[in-house]
């Protein structure tokens, strides 16, 4: 009887049922694409873009002087790699980034945590923090470079300027999210203010501090590069700025790709560090 109903003339049921379910599966992304095909697709896309770029530039459809081409970029990359220039620049930028990241994250977190101790102090500081956060800190670069000089200090300074407020704000938000009942309960058990802070607030805020790290690593790199742009002896940022001034477009691209690679590696290491610490010591997962 059911079959009759479905097969009845004019009934759309059988047709909609089969095509509908296939459609549904696509809508809900029920079918996972196999990993090898995803990887193949990604490599294929990258190779396709590179090939297209090379062809368009060689055929002069895009201006090879303005856009350069993959073969020249690879040549510059290998040249700078051979004469050690790439390594010197990359390690300079890397050092400035890591130093600025560590200083910015730690001091920002300390500032954020300090707000727990006094509501008055937190209220007074709040607007200044928000103003500093809204400020385009990259525009401060000339002042920072003038004040701290052409050496690595000014690059670290820029990286700190970009990361410190994010850490302070994330930390103080994370602190407010600590379980209030737990704070009450520990206080009711007779804990002192310091014990509440060190045993509940600090460990309860730590995941927020860690999640700020993931944002900060990219910002620290951006800060270091801008510092190098303004004035520097070394660094990938200086190398790119120099290449721009001498119209060496291939060198610009080579520097940009090296930076992207550095940025991805730094991000992955930070994210791995975060999830490892959370899993091992806090038994929770990273917040995405």
């Amino acid at each position: 009887m059911k079959a009759d109903l479905l097969d009845a003339p004019g009934s759309l049921a059988p047709a909609t049922r089969s095509s509908g379910s296939r459609k549904l599966r696509r809508v809900y992304h029920e079918r996972e694409a196999p990993a090898w095909s995803v990887l193949a697709g990604r490599i294929g896309f990258a190779l396709g873009v590179i090939a297209l770029w090379e062809i368009l530039a060689r055929a002069k459809i895009i201006n090879p002087f303005l856009w350069s081409m993959p073969s020249l970029i690879a040549g510059e990359f290998v040249r700078t790699l051979r004469d050690g220039e790439l390594f010197t620049d990359a390690s300079f930028t890397f050092t400035a980034t890591i130093a600025g990241f560590i200083i910015g994250t730690i001091s920002g977190s300390v500032i954020g945590l300090s707000f727990w101790w006094s509501t008055w102090y937190a209220k007074v500081a709040e607007p200044f923090l928000i103003i500093f956060e809204g400020m385009p800190k990259l525009a401060l670069a000339p002042i920072v470079v003038l004040a701290l000089g052409l050496g690595i200090e000014s690059k670290i300074g820029m990286a700190v300027a970009l990361t410190i407020v994010i850490s302070a704000l994330t930390t103080s938000a994370g602190m407010r999210a600590v379980d209030r009942d737990l704070v009450r309960l520990v206080f009711a058990l007779g804990a002192t203010r310091w014990q509440v802070f060190s045993k509940v607030i600090l460990p309860g805020t730590f995941p927020a501090i860690l999640s700020a790290m993931r944002i900060n690593i990219g910002l620290a790199l951006a800060g270091a590069i801008v510092g190098e742009f303004i004035g520097s002896q070394h660094g990938l940022g200086r190398s790119i700025a120099y290449a721009g001034q001498t119209y060496n477009i291939a060198l610009i691209w080579s520097g940009v790709f090296t930076l992207s690679l550095l940025s991805v590696v730094l991000y992955l290491v930070t994210a791995w560090l975060e999830s490892t610490i959370l899993r091992r010591f806090f038994h929770t997962q990273a917040r995405r």
Binding site: D179, D181, L182, R184, L185, V186, F187, A188, L189, G190, A191, Q195, K199, V200, P203, G204, F281, F282, H283, T284
Partner: protein, 259 residues
């Protein structure tokens, strides 16, 4: 002899931008040792305020609270609180969550751990001592919460809607479990709930409160034999109590605060 005495206790909050809210009108209450009291009332009736005042987390605006004849001025070891959320430290294992109160009181770990273990056994979590709270179900977390309160050996246990966040089945299991555990430790229990069934099933006496300003409407002893089995909830006396409280709860003046 009364263990707990509330004399004219009132709590008034100052509202932002002037005016005052009377959370708890002048209230007097005496509670005998070993009694299981349920405070029942609509939301906003001041039952949590009353509980916080008993724990010393909230200083009353007027009146005095005496425990064993001593006036309380703040939190103390003679009272332990259990909140609706389990509020465990996710970074500590079950046993170390339970020992925390003892650690705060300066008990060395080698003494604290066996005491915590005894409580973990009592609440039925033997074998879970080295797990972390994230690995436990809501009901199990709430058992750890109670073990943490019991381990400091308080005179009075204060529970603020401890099972309200659990699903119906788990809640009913936890109620039976709480009565079992209470049979063993026989401390004074003050249990706040808005669930009439829960109140009647658990308590020796129900303190019924009304909406704002929060005040005590009546005290009704629950004369149901212990130990109580789950089947009691369909018995005639149980239903009688329930009808009485439900009709009271739906009176407009009692509900005042809920709106």
């Amino acid at each position: 002899m009364a263990l707990i005495e509330l004399v004219d206790v009132g709590v008034t909050y100052r509202r932002r931008g002037g005016g005052e809210t009377i959370a708890l009108a002048r209230t007097s209450l005496t509670i005998a040792p070993g009694e299981f009291i349920c405070i029942v009332g609509p939301s906003g009736c001041g039952k949590t305020t009353l509980l916080h005042a008993l724990d010393g987390l909230q200083t009353p605006t007027s009146g005095r609270i005496l425990i064993d004849g001593r006036e309380i001025t703040g939190p103390g070891r003679d009272r332990a609180m259990v909140f609706q959320s389990a509020s465990l430290m996710p970074w500590r294992t079950v046993v170390r969550n339970v020992t925390y109160g003892l650690e705060l009181h300066g008990v060395p770990l080698r003494d604290a751990i066996p005491r915590a273990q005894a409580m973990i056994d009592l609440v039925g979590l033997t074998g879970f001592e080295d797990r972390h709270p994230g690995e436990l179900s809501g009901g199990m977390q709430q058992r750890v919460n109670l073990a943490r309160a019991l381990v400091i050996d308080p005179e009075v246990i204060l529970l603020d809607e401890p099972f309200a966040a659990l699903d119906a089945q788990t809640r009913s299991d936890m109620q039976e479990w709480l009565l079992d555990v209470w049979d063993d430790f026989k401390k004074t229990v003050i249990f706040v709930t808005h669930d009439v069934d829960e109140g009647v099933y658990l308590s020796d006496e129900i303190v019924m409160m009304s909406g704002r300003p929060g005040r005590i409407l009546e005290r009704v002893p629950i004369e149901l034999a212990r130990p109580r089995k789950r089947s009691i909830i369909t018995s005639r006396p149980f239903v009688g109590y329930k009808e009485h409280f439900l009709s009271l709860l739906h009176r407009p003046d009692v509900l005042a605060a809920a709106s």
